[in-house]
């Protein structure tokens, strides 16, 4: 096994699938010769050639349409959208077209496409680069949405996404790209889509989070253990659509208290969906209202205010105190 950062694990997943399946194609803006603005595709064009790994003109809707057409002819496109805010240019391709190809054709056509895009707060990038748009994506029927929080999951989930016969939006949190390394197996393994993971066991309250907020929540859980001796369970959703209700509900039934943490603004987001799910399936087990920890309902903040905008361990800790004291 090798120590890898998340970005290295992502490159390794792409390499593994390019080598395994000749139908896998990797493309986008600057992904070929240059290896991507984050080097996610570093060395892949050299290894697999320009037919498999290539640059496209600078046009996100075109990239999305290209992916759909290639899927119709039996390829498995992995299309990079250079930064998350650029998906606004490709919303029809992603949310209007790829997600509905199977449905509109009654199963005759399918779109085994992976859209990859960096997102997330913490690197002080330019506007329209770091937004949390997963709510828009997760609300789209027919589109799976995956958000890894660590290198191991990133590789296993990306391999699963490439092999999936439905379109998957794979969100890569920029702050996690190089923030830590961990053991990542070489070669082939998968982490299933649609399965959350209990990353910290506990009995007193449940925190449901994804992406970078998993790490923020783990810090808060440690703080709670230290200050009041309560044991907080932390769930990493890993997939936002389809949601793993089973893991969430089993935990809430055990702990009786839950908060949901998301980096995105509060309104109509994934946290609201998870809270509703808990209400529907476990309300009689609840000892306290399900709280959301989210960013305020403003567009993704200016870089110089992002540290204040994004939920931090203190805000998660405060919410945990609130449900534990209820």
């Amino acid at each position: 096994m090798a120590q890898m950062t998340m970005i290295q694990a992502i490159t390794d997943a792409l390499r593994t699938e390019l080598a395994r399946d000749p139908n896998v194609l990797v493309f986008g803006e600057d992904v070929g010769h240059y290896g991507g603005v984050f080097r996610a595709t570093e060395g892949l064009q050299k290894e697999f050639g320009e037919e498999r790994v290539f640059d496209t003109p600078l046009a996100e809707s075109g990239i999305g349409g290209l992916a759909i057409g290639l899927a119709v002819t039996g390829f498995r496109p992995v299309a990079e959208i250079q930064f998350i805010g650029f998906i606004f240019e490709a919303m029809d391709s992603i949310c209007g077209q790829a997600s509905r190809l199977r449905f509109r054709s009654g199963g005759r056509y399918r779109a085994p496409i992976v859209f990859r895009s960096p997102f997330g707060v913490g690197v002080k990038a330019a506007e329209y680069h770091t937004d949390n748009l997963e709510g828009l994506l997760a609300q789209t029927p027919g589109l799976k949405v995956v958000v890894p929080s660590n290198p191991y999951d990133a590789k296993g989930l990306l391999i699963s996404a490439i092999r999936d016969d439905d379109p998957v939006f794979f969100l890569e949190h920029m702050k996690l790209y190089r923030s830590f390394r961990e053991e990542v197996p070489e070669g082939d393994y998968t982490v299933p889509i649609g399965k959350a993971k209990v990353v910290r066991e506990g009995t007193d309250a449940t925190v449901i989070a994804y992406g970078a907020m998993v790490h923020t929540s783990l810090k808060a859980a440690e703080e709670i253990a230290k200050t009041r001796g309560a044991q907080v369970e932390v769930i990493d959703l890993r997939t936002l659509n389809p949601l793993d209700a089973e893991t969430i509900i089993a935990s809430v039934k055990k702990t009786g208290r839950a908060i949901v943490v998301q980096e995105a603004q509060r309104i109509a987001g994934v946290a609201a969906e998870v809270a509703a799910l808990i209400n529907e399936k476990a309300i009689l087990h609840l000892e306290a209202p399900v709280l959301r920890v989210a960013s305020p309902d403003i567009p993704f903040s200016f870089p110089l205010a992002e540290d204040e905008w994004v939920p931090n361990p203190a805000r998660v800790t405060a919410a945990l105190h609130e449900v534990l004291d209820f």
């Binding site: 194609l25 037919e51 496209t56 003109p57 046009a59 809707s61 075109g62 999305g64 349409g65 290209l66 992916a67 759909i68 057409g69 290639l70 899927a71 119709v72 002819t73 039996g74 390829f75 029809d92 391709s93 209007g96 077209q97 199977r102 449905f103 509109r104 054709s105 009654g106 199963g107 005759r108 056509y109 399918r110 029927p141 027919g142 799976k144 999936d164 016969d165 439905d166 649609g194 389809p242 949601l243 209700a245 089973e246 799910l277």
Partner: protein, 359 residues
């Protein structure tokens, strides 16, 4: 005054028949057998009758969304006729005749119009996508299909259609540009029928022609008389041959006119067209001109025409009956076609609908 080096050249337009069905451009006449010429006429007459029946069915509430095609038959029939059976069509919503003549059973076209999922279940051996509603989306997808064929080394050509309005969309430029950069076997046909619903062609672009838009993509562009089936056939045949030989994409602007409304959903063309205008265009009716041409050659008779009209009426009647007989969609069935396998929370929704609750 600065010297502006880039200037649009003249519009080159391909005409073969004049308004009276006489050949004006002998060098460009396609090599078609008498049987093929008659088949073009048969398909145009058939399509005109089918369209008239469809409009009538629509007015009776027996169809859903339907965009009439009368006036545009030469472009639709001539372009599809120039393709091979395994070439691929990405249609807009008006381009139903092309996909039916390419193999989609007519009853499925009616089901599509009504809003039934089976309308989009294209048979395995029919190489088309479902009609596209989002204007221009089919053009970027067509570039993808063309790239797929090229990567597989298949000598197949992709054709996609939009209108004069569609040529204003970003996807139109992106599709042409991608096709040019990757040298893809793609033909983009713009059916310039003068109006995007009500907005006239002059308000879409200041370019001297829509064919000129090829210049920016560095690909060949041509304008044809879209109401002359021979001109359309010739242009598409040539573009298809070049595409098959690895010479890349072509933009074809077919100048035509829709005699009817934009759709049957409340459009009233008298609000944006003068009374005289349709009459002027009717003088160029593609069926009338081609009939004159064929009659002159002794290839077409009133009896043959009557036979085609009856055949079309019968076919439409049978297709409507088959559409009527098609099983209704069910919510559990629809839930099952969103993903390869419905995830657990959708299984719950499916079970709820299957239980008959809420009825």
């Amino acid at each position: 005054m600065l010297h502006y080096a880039v200037e649009a050249g003249e519009v080159k337009r391909l005409d073969i028949l004049d308004a009276d069905g006489r050949i004006v451009n002998p060098d460009a006449v396609p090599r078609l057998s008498d049987g093929e010429l008659k088949e073009l006429m048969r398909r145009m007459v058939f399509t005109r009758i089918w369209d008239q029946r469809a409009v009538s069915l629509g007015r009776q509430g027996r169809l859903g969304f339907y965009a009439p095609v009368s006036g545009q038959e030469a472009t639709m029939i001539g372009s599809e006729f120039a393709l091979n059976r395994d070439d691929f069509i990405l249609p807009g919503y008006r381009d139903i005749p092309q996909i039916v003549w390419h193999g989609l059973p007519m009853y499925q076209a009616f089901l599509y119009s009504r809003g039934h999922q089976h309308g989009g279940q294209i048979p395995e051996d029919v190489h088309v996508l479902m009609p596209q509603i989002i204007i221009g989306a089919q053009i970027v997808q067509a570039a993808g299909v063309a790239m797929g064929f090229k990567k597989r080394g298949e000598k197949r050509v992709v054709i996609t259609y939009t209108g004069d309005g569609g040529s204003s969309q970003g996807d139109f430029y992106e599709g042409l540009n991608f096709a040019g950069v990757f040298n893809l076997p793609l033909i983009v046909v713009v059916q310039n029928n003068g109006y995007a619903i009500s907005t006239p062609r002059e308000k879409q672009t200041r370019a001297p022609s829509i064919a000129h838009k090829a210049v920016a993509a560095g690909i060949p562009g041509i304008q044809v008389d879209g109401m002359d089936v021979l001109a359309v056939y010739t242009a598409v045949k040539d573009a298809a041959e070049r595409a098959r030989n690895g010479d890349g994409p072509t933009l074809i602007e077919a100048v035509t006119y829709r005699f009817g409304p934009h759709s049957l959903s409340g459009d009233d063309p008298t609000r944006y067209r003068s009374k005289e205008e349709p009459t002027e265009w009717e003088k160029r009716d593609p069926l009338v001109r081609f009939r004159k041409f064929l009659t002159e050659k002794g290839l077409w008779s009133d009896d043959e025409e009557t036979a085609v009209i009856e055949e079309a009426k019968r076919a439409v009647k049978e297709a409507v009956e088959q559409a009527d007989r098609t099983a209704k969609m069910t919510m559990p069935g629809l839930i099952d076609t969103v993903f390869e396998t419905a995830p657990p929370l959708m299984q719950e929704q499916k079970a709820w609908f299957s239980s008959g609750e809420g009825k």
